[in-house]
Amino acid sequence: MTAAGVLAAGAAGGDLFVAQNVFFGVIALVMIVSAIRCVTTRNVVHAALWLVLVLAGAAAQFILLGSEFVAVTQVLVYIGAIIVLFLFGIMLTKASMGDDDSVATEKRLMASLVAVLLAVVMGIALLDSYSDTRLVIDEPQRFGVVSDAIFSQYIVAFEAVSVLLLAALIGAIVVARKE
């Protein structure tokens, strides 16, 4: 049987999505490399730009998962607003433009130890619980379904989030204002 035949049979069976898996692998690799560069690079502006790659990769993963609405919101809110906010923060605190070297070596050592231990524990737990649980995404989640859920079932949480955003806005102004 040719490779194409295998692919067709798998696609017909609905349990082999080669293209999706290849895209997932490429995007995941980009995300992990950019995240590591983001937390290790000395230049803060470069870190913000690496963060853009991580956030864009997350948006791509949301599309792979069939959640277009979350992906669009991710691009609008994170890449559009939060990164700009970060760049403004970097510009307003000029001391941070340079690198922050002299990071204590033992602090880094402890941090990487904690991170690796956490990764091992979570990895073992995940591999133990969901070792071959299949994820079949046959059609994307409709926008209407999401908005229906937000404005009916989760309306209280939605209103609470809007009050929280307002409070955060006023709080940020009060905190950052010059006397």
């Binding site: 999505f17 999706q20 898996n21 997932f24 995941a28 995300m31 992990i32 995240a35 590591i36 983001c38 937390v39 803060v44 870190a47 963060l51 991580v54 997350a58 993963q61 949301f62 998962l65 069939g66 959640s67 979350v70 991710q74 809110v77 994170y78 939060i82 906010l85 970060f86 923060g89 970097i90 605190t93 001391a95 941070s96 990071v103 602090k107 941090a111 991170a115 956490l118 990764a119 979570m122 990895g123 995940l126 591999l127 070792s131 071959d132 649980t133 299949r134 994820l135 079949v136 989640q141 999401v146 859920a149 989760y154 949480a157 989030v161 806005l169 709080g171 940020a172 905190v175 950052a176």
Partner: protein, 99 residues
Amino acid sequence: MILNQFLLLAAILFCIGVYGVLARRNGIMVLMSVEIILNSVNINLVAFGAFRDNVAGEVFALFVIAVAAAEVGIGLAIVLLIYRNRRSIDLSEADLLKG
């Protein structure tokens, strides 16, 4: 696709974010690492939502995005305030409450 590939990616991103929070001393870098952590949680939420075919995962991912926006606004305001008072955003120097 299997569910685990998304969960493992989110776990790795979470650990990278935890490393950033613990190792960096620049206040803005700590906030960026927190963003990486929140994003990995979002991937988890959406993956489980797709797995259960339930819209709750997406709805709560949207709520997390909104809360993250609020958190960055407040966090940057606090970092600006620290910078204005001390001319530095090195968090290891902000130890006024240390006993």
